[in-house]
């Protein structure tokens, strides 16, 4: 289906992320095996597969939390350049315009909701340490500017009323939303969401579908997500990539994927759905 010999930098103009032959093994077990797909600009792209199929591992390889053994991750940065992310440090990735959430919600319990969201714009802050400790005008202005931006994002996500509450003790669905809000602070080109609908009830899931579409339009970015909820994925995604045991099964529109026999066996044979 994909031509692996394609020149790496030869990325079509409307492609934002292109991963090629991505592979990683843990102690002989191939968690991600020669995975290849690409995501177009402003596309909502779903990655599905049974439990343990290597979806989160693939995310971690793309965002460089794991160093892939083989393969490349080409990304069109927010400056319009195409760069291979492999070999970059995990903290350098967001500067390229790629931001992610985590399966187990990585928020800071001791910080307020708005402070957690503000962490999302960390890379936009430039005031020196001196300016910060003496609260010089530059530091104040910067803080005020991003605080306002964070408030807008929180309003947009319907979290404004709890902005000064601590994150500790918030319900799971709210935590998921806060984490999503945090990704919106850095003008992303691509947002990677690890199980955004986990822990949400039906109406919340429906609302999330809407929000994610709106985010795509408002922020002009592509979205890559992993989700178990098949209905959610088929409703939301433009294209879907199905994997099993780290290997690619099929890429296509939701209808194509649903009709794909390999996908059906993978899900019915070993799936948990």
């Amino acid at each position: 289906m994909h031509n692996a010999t394609q020149e790496n930098n030869n990325m079509a103009n409307n492609v934002v992320l292109k991963i090629d032959d991505l592979s990683i093994a843990f102690g002989g077990l191939k968690a991600v095996d020669a995975l290849t797909f690409d995501i177009k600009e402003k596309e909502i792209f779903g990655l599905i597969g049974p439990n343990g199929a290597g979806k989160t591992t693939a995310f971690n390889c793309i965002t460089q939390f794991y160093k892939p053994d083989r393969g490349s991750v080409h990304f069109r940065t927010n400056k319009g350049e195409v760069e291979n992310l492999v070999g970059k440090k995990p903290h350098e990735i967001i500067r390229k315009g790629l931001v992610r959430t985590f399966q187990n919600v990585e928020l800071i319990r001791e910080l307020s909701v708005i402070d957690n969201v503000l962490v999302g714009s960390h890379i936009e802050f430039h005031a020196s340490v001196l300016s910060q400790i003496f609260k010089l005008p530059k530091a104040r202005k910067e803080e005020a500017k991003f605080r306002q931006q964070a408030e807008e994002v929180l309003k947009y996500m319907g979290l404004y009323d709890i902005k000064d509450q601590l994150v500790a003790g918030q319900p799971y669905g709210v935590l998921k939303k806060i984490e999503l809000a945090r990704t919106l602070m850095c003008e992303p080109k691509l947002i990677i969401l690890d199980e955004p609908a986990a822990g949400l009830n039906d109406s919340e899931t429906l609302a999330l579908t809407e929000i994610i579409r709106e985010i795509r339009d408002k922020y002009n970015c592509a979205i890559l997500l992993v989700e178990h909820d098949m209905r959610f994925v088929t409703d939301l995604c433009d294209r879907i990539c199905a994997i099993s045991f780290g290997k690619l099964l099929a890429v296509g529109t939701p209808q194509e994927i649903q009709a794909n026999e390999q996908v059906q066996t993978a899900y019915l044979g070993k799936g948990d759905e």
Partner: protein
């Protein structure tokens, strides 16, 4: 040449002392994910107990040493039951700090019970023998061989016995080990007990040259930790081998370079070395789960 052999023989002895202490530290680290900074002060405290037994009973030194190690064993159990067993689920920083609190307790209690004056602990044996032009004291032979025998027995048990299997299972993944029915809290307790006994033995080997005093184990504690750094925290044998290497290099430095600055140079060398081997000489890289 004679001097070189002499240095090597001495190094076997000092290396053995460091190795015993570092084996205790690595045993505790691997089974309860705790950096034990109190290994030295725990050993110092037990050396005081042992010397006290010697003074009160007048039994032969060898027997007193064994009694002392038994006492240490129980002090280790006590420390685990009273404090460590309650910390198992804590953040590793809290655990580290707990052992730092233990240092203060041992350093505070020792002078309360045993007074502030240093005590003398005799050698196990007196007299010496010459080998290849170098002299080695009988006491050194005892120290070297006892240390090596005890460590060999421990390594054999780690590999072959049921206890060893449990320790290794706990070390590689305590959650899975617990699910397999291994009583991990008991394994942690045993590690503290054994570590205390090993540390006490190392303190008793050191005691004839330093006297039994509050700061006798300070240097050993630092070197034992650095042995773990140099040998890597991922294996049991790494720190032991590193301890012998450090013992040798330390003796070479103090003879050929400067006896005053040998330890300082050694520390800097090890710190510089981890730039090139971040996981130690025998360590492996670990992938963190996200």
């Amino acid at each position: 040449m004679n001097i070189f052999i002499q240095i090597l023989l001495n190094s076997l002895e000092t290396g053995g002392i460091y190795a015993l202490a570092s084996l205790g530290i690595i045993l505790i680290y691997r089974t309860s994910n705790t950096q034990n900074y109190a290994q030295g002060s725990l050993s110092m405290f037990n050396a005081f107990i042992t010397t006290f037994i010697l003074i009160k009973t007048g039994l032969p030194v060898g027997i007193v040493a064994i009694l002392g190690m038994f006492c240490a064993f129980f002090v280790g159990v006590l420390v685990d039951r009273v404090v460590i067993s309650r910390t198992l689920k804590m953040h590793s920083v809290s655990k580290q700090i707990i052992t730092l609190g233990l240092i203060m307790i041992f350093l505070g209690i020792a002078p309360m019970i045993f007074g502030t004056d240093p005590l003398q602990f005799p050698r196990f044996l007196y007299g010496s023998h010459s080998v290849l032009g170098a002299t080695i004291s009988y006491n050194a032979i005892v120290n070297i061989s006892v240390g090596i025998i005890i460590m060999l027995v421990l390594f054999f048990m780690l590999q072959k016995s049921k206890w060893g299997l449990s320790v290794r299972a706990t070390a590689s993944n305590d959650v899975v080990a617990r699910m397999m029915g291994i009583p991990t809290p008991l394994i942690t307790m045993a590690s503290w007990a054994i570590a205390a006994a090993l540390g006490t033995l190392s303190a008793l080997m050191l005691a004839p040259t330093t006297s039994v005093n509050l700061s006798m184990m300070d240097g050993v504690q630092v070197i034992a930790l650095l042995s773990c750094v140099l040998g890597g925290f991922q294996t049991f044998y790494g720190p032991v081998v590193a301890a012998y290497i450090i013992g040798t290099v330390s003796n070479l430095l103090s003879y050929y370079v400067s006896s005053t600055w040998s330890d300082s140079i050694l520390y800097l060398l090890i710190l510089a070395l981890i730039l090139f081997r971040p996981n130690g000489l025998f360590g492996k890289k670990i992938v963190k789960k996200v």
